[in-house]
Symmetry: C2
Subunit: 74 residues, 2 copies
């Protein structure tokens, strides 16, 4: 479900959706929890986060954080 907006590899092609690839795990889980509680609001994320369990959120955060990214030298 996440891949529709955030990309197959965690690199978003959607102008409103952030890249998740390689993102800080703790940040990802807190952001998703904030969407679930309603502390953070977003048309799409508010809908999709509400059915996620704590385990789902932990797994998603670990998955996206595990994707290795690197900065391409200019």
């Amino acid at each position: 479900m996440c891949q529709a907006c955030h990309g197959l590899d965690g690199l978003s092609k959607h102008p409103e959706a952030p890249h998740l690839a390689g993102q800080v795990e703790n940040y990802l889980s807190k952001a998703t929890q904030a969407y679930r509680t309603g502390e953070r609001k977003n048309d799409m994320m508010t809908i999709v986060a509400k059915d996620l369990t704590d385990e789902d959120i932990a797994n998603l955060a670990a998955f996206y954080a595990s994707i290795q990214i690197e900065v391409v030298p200019p």
Copy 2:
């Protein structure tokens, strides 16, 4: 100022701060605006965003979005 938490190259070494390198520009500017208005809250960002001008936010979003990142194949 941003670099203290988000890294010199936009890759955070701080467990609470997300990477900004290569992030979607529109997402970065909206997120920073949301911190400035108080719609999004964070101990650090709420303080630092409140003095940013619209031009500052546009420049910061453009700068971090311009850093090229790539996924490292597993």
